[in-house]
């Protein structure tokens, strides 16, 4: 009888230990493309945060990752694959803000929670959205840019390099830029050039625009990940010059990638608003932990939007925790 009791107690203890161990939770991560440092950093930070936050919460995050090479149809099929693998949560950065709606609905039908990451769906609400506040990002940059040109007594005639028009962040940035500058009386946008996020179009679009508008003296970049292409274009038209030089083109940019940090330190780019890869990833994992524990995500109206910070030539070396600065 005594032996039987001991065996039963041992069995119960083993069961209790098993339930106390971290439970596996599989996240299906769908990238639209891995075409610059941001997705690479996001993924790196998500996985490291998954480990840190997961351990603290008793969740063992496992990852299934796929990439759609900027093809919305392939992304839909990649997400379908994740649903068929019965992952516990899908996190997707959409290639197309409209097309992702069908994937969100399919995941909902399969009872799989869905986090849209970085790029919101235009039409369908996911479980929660986590990303940067791209409208606020461009607004912050544009307001600072208008103030800067006003202070320097410059009448800005700008070329706008837009992103992909199927990317809601690109649309938001363009909208905010125009809302601030069109009525500013200081900055006028002479031409908006769509780049489809293709660095080659950043280059040729800039050259074409400056040929069409030789009096242009400023630019707004929807992202500075392709700054080397813009630099090459400006060099070819003799307008890559530091602030203070008569040929200087005033540049307001978005994201503040490593290339932009250096260009800002060297005096070529004037201001930009950061896109905080670490904060985005951390927030996404915080929401994933809540979902894994069976709790409700806690973003206001289902949107967790992380604001960027204004980076200028004056503060680029001192602003704290700038992921793209070499010392980070």
């Amino acid at each position: 009888m005594r032996t039987l009791t001991i065996a039963a107690l041992a069995g119960l203890a083993a069961l209790a230990a098993q339930s106390a161990a971290a439970k596996d939770f599989v996240i299906g991560l769908s990238w639209n493309a891995m075409d610059n440092q941001l997705p690479v950093k996001w993924q790196e930070y998500m996985q490291s945060e998954g480990k840190t936050q997961g351990e603290a919460a008793g969740v063992n995050f496992k990852w299934v990752i796929n990439v759609a090479d900027a093809n919305p149809s392939r992304q839909a099929s990649n997400i379908e694959d994740l649903i068929n693998q019965n992952v516990n949560l899908i996190i997707a950065r959409a290639e197309d803000a409209s097309a992702v709606a069908a994937s969100i609905r399919a995941a909902k039908a399969a009872n799989i929670p869905f986090i849209t990451f970085d790029r919101q769906s235009k039409t369908t609400k996911p479980t929660v959205h986590v990303g940067g506040d791209s409208y606020d990002q461009a607004k912050t940059t544009a307001e600072a840019f208008v103030a800067l040109l006003k202070e320097k007594g410059v009448q800005g005639k700008c070329i706008e390099l837009q992103g992909s028009l199927t990317d809601i962040n690109a649309v938001n940035r363009s909208k905010a830029w125009h809302e601030v500058t069109d009525k500013s009386g200081v900055v006028q946008t002479l031409e908006s050039v769509p780049t489809e996020w293709n660095p080659d179009l950043f280059r040729s679009g800039t050259v074409n625009a400056f040929r069409a508008h030789p009096d242009a003296n400023c630019m707004f970049l929807a992202s500075d990940f392709a700054l080397p292409a813009v630099q090459s274009a400006l060099e070819s038209v003799g307008k890559w010059a530091k602030r203070g030089d008569s040929n200087h083109v005033w540049i307001a940019s978005q994201d503040v990638f490593p290339e932009a940090v250096k260009a800002m330190q060297d005096g070529y780019v004037d201001d930009g608003t950061s896109y905080d890869a670490y904060a985005h990833a951390k927030e996404a994992i915080r929401q994933a932990v809540l979902i894994a524990k069976g709790e409700k995500p806690d973003c206001p109206d289902g949107n967790c939007l992380v604001k960027g910070r204004l980076v200028t030539q004056e503060n680029v070396n001192t602003i704290q925790n700038l992921w793209s600065r070499p010392d980070k």
Partner: protein
Amino acid sequence: MTAIAQGTLGHWFTRNGFLLIVIALFLFFSIVTQHFASVANVLAMAHTMAPLVIIASGLALVVFTGKLDISVGSIAFLSSAIAVLLMHDAGVNAPLAFLAALVTGALLGALNGFVVVFLGINPLIATLGSMIALRGVALQLTNAILIALPESVRGLGNATIGGVFVDVIIAAVILIVVHVLHRRTVFGRRLDAIGNGEDNAIRIGIPVPQTVFLSFVASGFLASVGGLIGLLQVGAISSYLGKGMEFTAVAAIVVGGVSLFGGRGTILPGVLLGAFAFTMIANGLNQMSADPYAYKLVTGGLIFIAMYVDALRTRRLRRIPIRPPAQAAS
């Protein structure tokens, strides 16, 4: 439908219509925009189209044989990626890294040629496979991120001699060499002969497998040259390098009057005009601040017209019903 008789307006149009369209478009953009016809802008267009004309001229050598190589964009990407990684990660000096890229391009072209000629796989399918696989390898090697060129070589893309971009001069030399190769050498005549009928070419003793193989090697080599020039222009490698270039190059070739059925067309002025047309449309619409989607519509329309004219010509020459290009390419 009857074939178009020689000496008629229709016949003249099928021979020279495209040149007229290019001239008309040039005049149109010159009138509606202020700076389109400036010397600086024409030089900028030549600069932009340099990678395209080089890649298209190499691809044309394959198309003359009635075959197709749709992996040129991926070869451009992979060979350029190798050059960048050699410089960036291994500290190899630029000339050696560029040489490695050119050798890579030729080898990848040889691989395509081997698969098509010696394994007998349909060129469209074979190069579709290499297009996907080679891009995958390049994405993996570069981690799909944008890598800026070292400062020591970054300025080469904008280097000029007497106000003309160096890459424009390189493109012009390559165009002339490829044109001479096509029109003035035994190799060039063999390409056309194979395109006009492979069975007949074999019967008259043309070494068809070797000639087709060499055309793929040349195509791969020139794809890597075009890739390097594109890389130097942008100043960084990104996953967009060469993306869609295969289709733009095919379009430039077809619009320039090279038949996808093989055996007909010219490098000069054909391929040059075709590439210029696409670059001019992008530049002109850009200067007009046209709707971004207008470019796709206009270029699509241009390709359609060119294909139709090509089909008309082929019917006139061969007096046979039009065959779908996919069959002709096999």
